[in-house]
Structures are given as C-alpha cells and as structure tokens.
Amino acid sequence: MNNLQNVSRRGFLRGAFVAGTFVLGARLIPEPLWAEASSSGPAVFQPDIFLGIAGDGTVTIVAHRSEMGCGSRTALPLVVADELDADWSKVRIDQAIGDPKYGEQDTDGSHSVRSFFDQMRQIGATGRVMLITAAATQWHVPAKECATEPSFVVHKGSGRRASYGSLVAAAAKLPVPKKEDVPLKNRSDWRYIGKDNALFDLSDIVTGKATFGMDAKMPGMVYASVEHPPVLGQKIKSYDDKGALQVPGVKQTLTISPFKPPHQFQPLGGVAVIADNTWAAFQGRKALKIDWDTSPNSVYNSGQFRKTLETTARQPGKVVRNVGDVDAEFAKGGKIIEAEYYTPHLAHASMEPPVAVAEYRDGKVLAWAPTQNPQAVQETIAGVLGIKKEDVICHVTLLGGGFGRKSKPDQVAEAAVLSKQLGKAVKVVWSREDDIQFDFFHSVAAMYLKAAIGPNGKPTAWLQRTVYPPIGSTFDVNAKYADDEMGLGWNNLPFAVPNHRAENGPADAYVRIGWFRSVANIYHAFAIHSFADELANAANQDSVQYLLELIGPSRIVPLEYKPEEQDEAKNYPLDTARLRRVVEIAAERSGWGKRPSGKGHGFGIAAHRSFLTYVATVVEVEVDDRGQVTIPNVWTAVDAGTIVAPDNIRNQFEGAASFSASLALLSEITVTNGVVNQSNFGDYKLIRMDRAPRHTDVHIVESDAAPAGVGEPGVPPFAPALYNAIHAATGKRIREMPLSKTKLV
C-alpha cells in the first residue's frame, strides 16, 4: 500500500505548516484509520505530516522520536533530508506532539533508526521525485534527464536549475507517485547518511539556549514539589502544613491521591507544596509533617532479599531455552564448575531530574515534558483524570538524559492532577533526592551458572538461571517471572555448547521496577561473560581464543521468535560470524596478548549482542597497591549494520564506557524497611572524569546489513570485560556489582 500522500492537495495544512507549503505526509497506520483520525481529531494539534517545504526553501521535518542524547532527533530527519537531497542548512526540525498517527513514539529499546529508517528514506525520496517531476514539467523535458543537487533540481542538458522553494506550488498539485516509481538513492550517493554530522541542537546546547523540560514555561504557572510516601504504597494518615505555609513564597499545599495497583506510571501520591518558585516549594516540603500509613512493602530489605534471590537461583526455574540435555551431561560426573553472580538495584539519575509543566482546562490537558514516550503521557493522564487520551496534548522538550526513566511519565501526571485542582498551569520539579529515592529502579538480580567441562576444557553442558523482580511487576501485581527480559541476553546464548538450558526463577517486587539503559542485558552479560572467562581460566586458556571457540563456527543460531518478532527473525538473525568479527577486531586493536597481564595490570574481554547490535569490548586496567582501579583504555568494536551518524555512534559508545564504569565500580541502591537508603550523588555515586575510562577507542564495522541499535548496546559487555581484566591483573574474581563491594587488597 502506498502510505504517502500529498497532504497539501488534501488540505491538511495546519500545525507546523503554513499555506503555500508543499507538504508530504506519511502515515504509519493503515489508510482507513488514518482518514478517520485526521478528520475527527483536534485539527490544530494534529499536523499529520513529516515533511514540508516552504516557498523560501525552508525544509521542515517532523521528529517524532524524543531526543535524550542518543541523536535520533537528528538522525531520522537526516535520512529524510538525504533522500530528498535537501540542503541540511535549510532544514528545521519540528518536534512532534504525542499522537498515535506518528506510529510508535516510545524512544526506548534503541530502535528509532531501526524501526523508521526505511520509512524516512521513502518520505524523502518521494518528495524528491515530485520536485523533479514539477521541474521537468515546467521545462518540458523528460524527468529522467533531471537530477538533484542539494535543494535544487537541475537539467544537465540545458544547465537549467530550479530551487526546491521555487517548485513548491507546482509540486503541491501533483499526485504522489507509487512506491515502485520512487527510486531510493544508491548508498554511494548518500550525502549525509554514514557521514559525520553534528547534532541538530548542538549550537543551542553549548550556548544554553536549548529548551529542556526543566526550562519549559507556561503562562501563569506556579511551582510544585511533592513529598512522596517513603515506602511504595504508603498512604497519608494525616499531615500538618502550618510550617510549610510560613515559608516565604509558599502558596498552599495539596494532596495527590495514591495510585491504584498496579502502579504503572500513576503518581505515587503524597503532599504537594505549591509556591511561586522552585526553591520555596522545596523549602516548604522540609517543613511538612506527614503521618504515613503502613505498606506491605515496608518488609523489604535488600540485604535479606539478596539471600532470597540466591536461594531461588539454586532451584530449578522456568525453562526459557533448552538445547540437548544438560542434566544427563551433569550426571556423567565429569568436571563441574559453578558460580553465582549478584547485581544491585540502580537508579537512572539522568542529569535532569523528572520535571514537567501541565495545564488542565475545560477537560483537556496541555503538557510540556522531557518524556521518552509522549503517548504514555496521554494515556497516563487520561487514566488518572478520567478524560480522553486525545484530550491530552503532550509537547516534548529536549531530555536532559533519559536512560529509560523518562519512558515513565508519573511526574507529568502529577502536574496535570495538581493543575486540575488549582485551575492554573503547574510545573512539578523533582529534587535529586526525589529522583533517586522514587525511581523505577533497575532490577536487583541473582544468577547461578553451572558447566560440565570436557577434556579440551570446553563446556559440554551449560546451565544458567536468572532471578529478579520483573519489569512486568509495574503492570501486573502478580508478575513474578520475566517476560521480554528473556530476550535481553538470556534465551539467546550464542555459544556452541551441545547441551544448554536457560531458566528464570520467580521473584516479588517491593519497589517500582523499570527499564534502565540496556536493561536485563546488564546482569545477563555480566554473569555469562564472567563465567566464560572463569571457564577459560580453569582451562588455562587464552580468554579471547576461548571465547571465539565458545562462539564456535560461523552460523545462524536457531532461536524461537514470537509472532511480533518476525522482522527480527527475518532481518536480524543471530549471526555468529558477526559476533566473531567484533571479538577479533577489538582484540586486535587492543594489542591483545602482546603485553602479559598480571602484577596489577590486565586486559579483559566480553562480547554481547543486544538490541540486534554486535559489540565486543576489551578493557585495560591498572590496580595499584591500595586496590585503586584505573582504566587507561577501552577498545570496543561495533557492528550495528547500516549506520546513519558515525561520530554520534562513537560518542554513544565512549559514553557507554563511562556510564558502565559507574555501575561496574560505584553505584548501588539499597533498601531498608522499604525505604531507599541513597538520596543524592554523595551516596549514589557516579563515575567522574578522574576515574572514568581515559580513552575509549570505538571501531565501527562497515556493513550494509539492516540498521540496529546504538544507544544501549555499549553498556552490557563493559562490566564483565572490566572484571575479567581485574581478574587478569590481580587473580581476584568479581561476582558482585559494584566493584566497591569487593576488597582487592
């Protein structure tokens, strides 16, 4: 089906685009639905268009994915501009509001480019064909004699040139060509895709002009800070706001109702202090006296819970993948190696804490938020306020980091709830303490691994069990087993082991659990690649050579795919040749084997495919006499298929090394009687420049395979590669995150 339409012909000129603009709309939903949606929705907020060109040549491209630092707000418009053959300096980007007509907008799972690359190419290429047709018609020459240069159509034979802007009126009258009549550029003709282009917002960022959620304003807005229940699910018994009301600038207090289980993205509930600036609201909160009810989650102590998880991990669990018969192999009674691994809760701690502005008026809500998922903002606010989803308009600002936290818009719903009570716009600002204590935490996890070792030192059987409170607990109070997390590095072990079983054991959640950059891949890759290195050491074999032999010959690993994973099954089979290649490249670039490890210096490797991207990472460490670890070098090799923005990808993987150094070395959330113990960067520690990897070398494998993810895949292999390096340097095996829990000397 041709899903492109010349919107200007049909008269849908509104929102971002003015009359006289040549507009090409792309619908991401089937035509009948689209026709209905565009005629029934509130017109001014539904531009329903991705691309427009104005008479002055300005090209407007709608970015429907959120920008949190991964570059998708630049990358996807760049793809449109390339196929359109537009002059990038004439492009402006309009950030889409939340609306299902743009398709899926949850900027998570590292799939913005993967899911929308073909779509964006098609939109740009269709526009280019129509502009060529318009020019050829005016010149009375065959269209095939015309070509394009950035923002111009040219006729080689006569030397005639027409700017895109001058062709707008004519192009707007043309029918949209069929998909088969729209040639895409050859890769060699790409001007922008695969080249180094700066982020669209770079200049605004370095001059302080960029608008993040923290900077959003609405006329007449007041500021709110919310005292949340210390334990998940606690309700207010009574509260005294006399002290709060005496704080200069504080206007009043309001309560927010507790959530109805499952909590999903609903507000936690609590007492909001309304003030005429952020600081007054913060100060007012300190003077509140609140008597909280009890909650069943008060029993949660993360230290004890660790024992529960570990006990569960030693018991048989639900089988999520089975190859051969591990039990029969274990029963043969050869050499057996077992190990247990543990990782704590983590908080996202994006530099911009949760924040949002919203105004409720006449049964409708207008919000500005740094959200990864504006459609979830619509759904959450609609659910909490009992209004229609379509009556929630969510504008998306730049995000000061997201890492998965900002897929959950509870703070935006708080602003909407408070605005409804106050009758004016409200800006809700979370303090850093709120952010760390009331996160949707990365799950705590325990893993148990067991292998039978054959005569050549290679495993003949490999059993792996993982146990953690699943993300499903956020949506279903009875969820105890992982679901989608199994695909995040657990039910797809790429090793050539004849007998293999992967299991998942049950666990209860006592805090909110959510996606955190690369999600379950973090603990799964940690366990699998630490264990692989343990086996290599036990066999007294080189870690890289051993890993390559574990991966085994080049092949497509047979996996089971869900019905919704057919794109993955078809376009992204698990190809061990690609995995082997990144291992070989990372090892070679690191000079692996040239400098012997030991005496406080070591190299370690791990290789993990996540979000359909193959990554191998070698970490070099130095451990001094006091056990202080420094990371002079990281080498990472990346095969993400076709890439749009290589320099941004290098930045993502350099950043992933630092991000991962935080969780590998320092960060940990613990809970006592249901209350999170950490509250700010003094006790929830993040890596700083002095301890971050000093240099990260990123090698991107050239590939014309389908595009895969780049935001998250750098994270999973880092910690096991680091710990394997520490083992090489010191002989100490790290089986628990973060490193600060283990004394090296």
């Binding site: 370095v206 923290m214 600036n277 000061g400 930045n651 950043g655 700083r688």
Partner: protein, 151 residues
C-alpha cells in the same frame, strides 16, 4: 535590597536572601542556561562565575552575591561563541547536553587560570562536574583544543 550584576547588567533583589543564586537565575531572572542537577554542589550542572571564579550557584545564597559580578552561559556568548564553546562544537562533545553549560563554565574558569592545563589538571578541575552520558573523553579533548586556540 541586594545589588549585584548578572552578565554586566546591574540588578537588585529584595526576596528571601537565603534563596540560592541558581533559583534566582532560573525562576526569577530567566537565565535557564544554568541547570539544576542536585542542589548540593555534587554535580556542577549549575556552575556560573562569581567575580571570575567558578561557583555552584545552587550553593551560593543571594545574600552572598551582594556586590558580586555573576556571569552565566548567556553572558559568555553574547556576541560570538567563546573559544571553549567553539571547541565543544568542533569536538561534538554533547549527547543530551544538560550538563554541558556547567561543564563549559567550569572549563572557561580553568583556562582563565591555567592557559595550558595537563590531563591531570583538567581532571582535577573538572571532576566536580558530572556527565551521566559520559562525555568526559571529549570534554578533555575540547579543553585541550580550546587551550591551543586561546594561546
């Protein structure tokens, strides 16, 4: 009445003298290039210059800026970009960008005092500024580049 300058312009403030400079800049004066990150001087996102020195504006009260000259990110690039900003552009440092104005203010203060800092001196000066995206390697490179430009 507290009198002081922001980006060269005389200003007065007669609100709560304990209000941190950060919230005056952001909520009262509208200089939102200065960011809130932690409120406790742990992260450096709110870094501005007070009489030329880098300070964490979340931890400087309005009564402490009496008579002072404050410079924010908006004040260093009023005409054209500062060489440090240009270096940030050329090296393509930012990812999300939220911490970067604080990083830039800290880097400018460093380069004002030390025209050719070593890696270790850069680390020492910049380790109070967190970047959760992890752009430290590029920040260090950009500071070296700006130092060359300024020399």
């Amino acid at each position: 009445m507290i009198r002081f300058k922001v980006n060269g312009t005389e200003r007065t403030f007669d609100g709560d003298p304990d209000m941190p400079l950060l919230w005056y800049l952001r909520d009262v004066a509208g200089f939102t290039g200065t960011k809130f990150g932690c409120g406790m001087s742990y992260c450096g996102a709110c870094t501005v210059h007070q009489d030329g020195d880098a300070v964490r504006s979340c931890s400087v009260s309005m009564k402490e800026v009496s008579g002072a000259s404050i410079t924010t990110i908006e004040g260093i690039s009023a005409k054209e970009m500062h060489p440090v900003q240009k270096a940030w552009m050329e090296i393509k440092v930012p990812q999300c960008g939220y911490c970067q104005t604080g990083q830039i203010m800290q880097a400018i203060a460093l380069l004002n005092q030390n025209h050719n800092p070593s890696d270790q001196q850069i680390d020492a000066a910049m380790s109070g500024n967190l970047c959760r995206c992890g752009t430290y390697q590029r920040i260090r490179a950009a500071i070296h580049q700006a130092a060359k430009e300024l020399a």
